[in-house]
Symmetry: C4
Subunit: 241 residues, 4 copies
């Protein structure tokens, strides 16, 4: 992989971190990864640092098993298994985010599935599954910090683009950085919307399966994708290094 | 139409975009149009771009059928039919906004009409109708992107100044840019208020029809209209090009 | 009255406007007045302008009946009767605010009195009355824009420091600008708190009458009053003219 | 104690004040203390001033009984007993915060215990007790401003790290400034989360005791603690004096 291309992908890792921090999807904890486009068995992820503060020098390369290629003493996120295990299970996925946006958490501790209530949320799929560490792993420190946990989580995600974690947060995957960012934002937004709507009672009309499919495809098109991306980039204030 | 007047109207399109973004009415998607004051069969609308980022060069002119006068390769919003069909049906309307403010969405998916609960919201009219694409058009990508859909939406709006779209958002119309902006802001604010009020139970006292009429007229007066406009313009930070 | 003292009081009018805008108590509409300390039959109030934008040149002097002393063509708020009628009825009151903070509105349209739920809110008194223009004045444009309406509102306020207006907003009075500002902020904050608390059900413990009295007195003391005031002034960003 | 070390601890007091203001945990009232590391019978606390405005010159030293070492005319917080009494009762505690974050207040006036609903909140312990001044002290000005009140509050906190005060706020303790800050932030965040979750009904799954213990220990580790701290410091904008 040429140095310049590696730099471009690392730059995108920084950009995705900054965007998700700016859009209030991610806070002090949480992380974002991009698969190495020249070596699908590796991915890029920041060293242990809050997304809002990540810079180019913080971006490290890892094997899918979570081993650093060139650690140089940098501390590492302990939940690398989230990223590696999804990249292993899903060859078409090239970007993964993990975050604790508060609005998604109620859907992990109450008996109510998270489904798209407005068109923009069609990018999260018909229904977002919830993974719980308890049944399989018992009392833990609640981090997805082993490969067995990562595999179990990836299995729960199935062929979808998002999965929630009980009492913890969410994981979102995308074919591209743009899709992953947009789905991360609208997963959070849709959860907020459903909570807000409950002031009027249970919503009567979620999107139909046909609407989810058609609207999701439309939002992943070049026209919609570019509009959202330009907006996110401009608001992030990120101007390269 | 003289160049200078066209420039002034285009500048207003940019201003309205920036104001509605600043006031959190509009976000990455959504758009704002103004009818051409010298040719009522045409209107101005930005190219496909998030309202917060729109600049003068982005403003394009369209026929009411949505055909660009001078496209110059610029990508276009696919929901132009919203604007054109309302301008066709309502000669007195000169400004239209479309947005996805979250607070209005619950009123499109629950069985609760949106009505003015405080005096400032009298500008939205007695009761805001909801349009749903399903009964007439079935499973779609949920965009109002054909003339038949636009006509159906305009019909649902009737002689009012606002209409909601199920699982999608809202459309607001005004005789002037000032009225349209104020109604857009207070449609969102009133929806938030009703949701908030529900913490105490169903509101007992909405505005009476007489209050809606008298207060709406007062708020469209020069004195009230100027005060709101100066506030919005100052907060938008927009200083021309 | 010496010019310099008039200037100081006018400056305080600007400051109070800016503070209440900064603390999200007041928005595009709403206003703040201070009684003339050298002539209790007159008060100062801005010309018709949003509080966030008010400057020294906007501050006008009025008789208690709402007549301008030196209008110089400046447009005037139409609700001057709120201020004048409270100053007439309450000689000990020297500062009045009127605003539409959303959180207080549910308490004007639902059957739930607004009472202090936490100690800081003791400054609003044991229970805030609600005034409704309908029974006495019928369908109006909902503004308190005549002396009879102002007198009726002042009567509803009684000897208290705050009154709510059905479907409209709130009025807060204080012996000093500091008391009025603090009570305005905590009226809004307490309303937000009660609405938020309702997620857990009806609150079981409001402040007792004895607590309201003792805590209110403590918060109007020099020590507490100074701390809040310095905070508000610093955050307002207002540095004189 | 060397001057330079005293200066470092005082600087940390300022930093903790600024961080908790920036993270919206603390507002115009509330305060933060650090025990003197060279004399455990004394602690540092700002003079009577809003946390957002505290500077190095405002930091005073006190005996555990709340007597100032070198007052120099500076006004003092009247609730010093909160800090002194916890430092007396808990030798392992070196940092204490007191604040009125709105989201914790509902848990002091409704019949619902505050417990960690997501992993980050494990730092507040299994269940946060509520202290009420009424049963023991009757109608007061609701301040914890005497040693008997402070002792009673410290007793209610027991061996935990947080205690709520009915109709008033919260107190959080930590072995270090870092732990105290993180627990203060996540106490507030968890309270917000529980309130939000109630839109879907009563949460079914709080953290288990085993999860609280293991996750709490993990979050107090160097790796997690450093990440949060760097984030808070960067966001505070505080760059020394």
């Amino acid at each position: 992989m040429s140095t310049s291309m590696a730099e471009l992908v690392k730059r995108d890792v920084v950009l995705a971190n900054r965007i998700l921090a700016r859009e209030n999807v991610i806070d002090d904890f949480g992380h974002v990864s991009l698969r190495n486009p020249e070596n699908p068995h590796r991915y890029f992820l920041a060293r242990s640092r809050s997304p809002e503060l990540v810079t180019l020098d913080d971006v490290m390369e890892f094997t899918l098993e979570g081993e650093p290629i060139d650690q140089r003493g940098r501390p590492m996120y302990s939940e690398r298994a989230i990223h590696g295990c999804i990249f292993m299970a899903r060859p078409e996925i090239n970007a993964v985010s993990h975050f604790h946006a508060r609005s998604v958490l109620p859907f992990t501790v109450c008996d109510e599935p998270l489904k798209p209530l407005f068109h923009m949320a069609s990018v999260i799929g018909e229904r977002v599954p919830v993974w719980d560490s308890q049944p399989e792993f018992g009392d833990t420190d609640m981090l997805v910090n082993t490969l067995p946990m990562g595999h179990s989580l990836a299995k729960a995600m199935g062929s979808g683009l998002a999965v929630l974690i009980r009492g913890h947060g969410a994981v979102v995957a995308g074919e591209s950085i743009r899709n992953m960012v947009m789905s991360s934002v609208y997963l959070k937004e849709n959860a907020e919307l459903v909570l807000q709507a409950r002031a009027l009672g249970k919503p009567l009309y979620y999107l139909t399966p046909g609407e989810v499919e058609k609207t999701g495809a439309m939002l992943r098109s070049q026209l919609a994708s570019d509009r959202a991306w330009d907006y996110y980039v401009a608001r992030s204030g990120f101007r390269g290094m």
